[in-house]
Symmetry: C2
Subunit: 366 residues, 2 copies
């Protein structure tokens, strides 16, 4: 055996998260980012949840700028996060004459639309640029921020997907104003994740301003919560974009939640709701190990309840959670690597969570 050649190269990753408002105001040029020619192809994957609400504004914007726009309406719920939806988008792209570099696909919607459209963009012609514009809080503080794309497959969450960076992430808080209460709370689960695992000051902010922020759909208050949460997450991701390190603080709340979410697909449980339940379980395990105090645990659970986040669910069994843990061990290459707070605002990783601990946590939370 001899080495004929060793390939050594680096791929530079560089993208911006930008904040704007009144995205569809004709004078706002954010939607033209990355376009070389005005008269080229423009494809927007639009979440069906906001299609009717936004279609007139979208068309008016592009009419004004004399750009022909192709809208692809995609259902943005977990049940439709499939290769079928992926193919649907691909087939429309095949009917356009999309250039490879200078006509970014735009993904406009919730986390599911970010993930599917991002996966299509990363594999179409082996990658075309994608601009992610989240319209839900889950998209805003989580799904649109990093470089992970994907679809569920054969009952497994994000089984097929890619690590591929967006061209740009455009954040317009205005979309949150019309978001149903349940979907605001859904996104708060990911904010709480970052707070508990790495930012005590964000945790304290949630305690004081979380409820009011939720009630006003982050219009009147909560800007600092959003910024801290996003910057906390992206700094965490940036140092480990390709998950070469498998001990990831941002996996907090994402150990048991994939099976919980897939188990309750037909009941339309939201991603953040499953994450919230996982956070409650993980914190309970941490408290029993005295990594956080019982007072902290009680405070977290009470805070979650006051924000409207679930902390348990009738579908939970020790078996289900053990199977989720086993699956994550495969994903984390043979180790549990379960992040838990120690203390609140910091993180350690557990490798030896037992069936008994899971069972105890379930009983405690019921």
């Amino acid at each position: 055996v001899s080495t004929l050649y060793e390939v050594k190269a680096t791929k530079p990753i560089n993208y911006k998260l930008i904040k704007t408002s009144n995205l569809f105001s004709h004078r706002n040029l954010s939607l033209l980012i990355g376009r070389e020619h005005k008269n080229g192809v423009c494809v927007i994957v639009v979440d069906s949840a906001i299609y009717d609400l936004l279609v007139d504004e979208i068309n008016s914007y592009y009419n004004h700028h004399k750009i022909e726009v192709t809208l692809i309406k995609i259902e943005g719920n977990e049940k439709k996060k499939t290769m079928d939806s992926y193919q649907e988008i691909v087939n429309v792209l095949d009917r356009t004459a999309l250039h490879r570099r200078k006509e970014p696909i735009i993904a406009l919607g919730g986390g599911v639309v970010m993930d599917i459209a991002g996966f299509v963009a990363s594999t179409y012609r082996r990658s075309v640029p994608c601009i992610k514009i989240p319209t839900t809080l889950m998209g805003y503080v989580d799904a649109a921020i990093g470089i992970k794309n994907g679809v569920d497959h054969n009952g497994n969450k994000n089984r097929l997907g890619s690590f591929h960076e967006p061209h740009t992430v455009i954040l317009d808080k205005g979309f949150l104003e019309t978001l149903p209460h349940r979907h605001i709370v859904n996104g708060v689960a990911e904010i709480l994740k970052i707070a508990i695992i790495k930012d005590k000051s964000l945790y304290d902010l949630i305690k004081t301003e979380g409820k009011a922020s939720i009630l006003s759909n982050f219009k009147l208050t909560g800007d600092e919560i959003l910024d801290k949460s996003i910057i906390g997450l992206i700094k965490e991701l940036e140092s480990n974009l390709y998950e070469i390190e498998l001990q990831r603080p941002s996996d907090f709340g994402h150990t048991f939640s994939p099976v919980i979410e897939m188990k309750n697909l037909e009941l339309d449980m939201l991603h953040g709701e499953a994450v919230a339940i996982d956070i409650a379980i993980s914190c309970t395990i941490a408290a029993r190990r005295e990594l956080i105090s019982m007072e902290s645990l009680t405070e977290i659970i009470e805070l979650m309840k006051s924000l409207g986040l679930p902390t348990t669910h009738h579908s939970l069994t020790t078996e289900l959670l053990m199977s989720g843990l086993e699956e994550r061990i495969l994903h984390r290459n043979g180790n549990q690597n379960v992040p838990v707070p120690s203390p609140v605002g910091e993180c350690i990783f557990l490798q030896d969570i037992s069936r008994d601990e899971i069972s105890h946590a379930l009983t405690y939370l019921r």
Copy 2:
């Protein structure tokens, strides 16, 4: 509009092309590269063309090493380079408990199998390692070497795919010994590509040793041709792995060939045959522009014929080739960027090839 955060990171790419012989000899440990535990999952995607020939040796090897092996037989021809084949592999993977990092999928076969299995590996769990072991000359000197994976879709070559590096490329020239003559010649097209566009010394070697190398399936002679070709290609790719620069010398022979190949899918035209025809067309255009001499053109065409490579085809029309050029312009972001020799062994890019030139080249080659 304000920037909330700018993400800056780099992804390191590092992989080896290694040469070995007697791959399935029990003492050869090349097949265990990248495996942490002997008793883990081992999945091999095997080209149906060599399945029967190798299945006993494969099983004997893994039996000896006490590793349970799962073989996935895939037809390695262009007609099967589809999302259906992709899904077939994915569905088998879903039935194994594949770890994410330490159980590389092995792709064993020709270029098509390299491309499909590489695409699956790059998207399964957002990427698991893949070891590429080419068994055809096309795989050996081209498809296995770089980081491009993909499948055809809606009649377009490699429409879906990824840039994702292999874990390791294992080169065992022994596989070429049983390769049918036509498939040897098929791979020579890619060798000739590198020679004409960037390595006059390789071109001269092909003139003196090409025919004998082909006749002996590269067993008795041709080692230097193979090494020079592979190293020439990988150096070309390494500096531009993600095709940020769209003027790519290695695109020589790949302007008109995608449509020629897809047009003749039902006739089982091979990739290298389409590439050879493209090389002949591109060189004819170059000669009429006096970028290479008419003597050089005649020599190239005669050399191709003596090696058994086609230089024209009854399916060719000016319209077909123009449509291929148009499609490539989309892929090359609005420019023709057609590489041609100037002189033989060096490369320039044309931006203004006309219908008339294509028509003239077709007539000349007939």
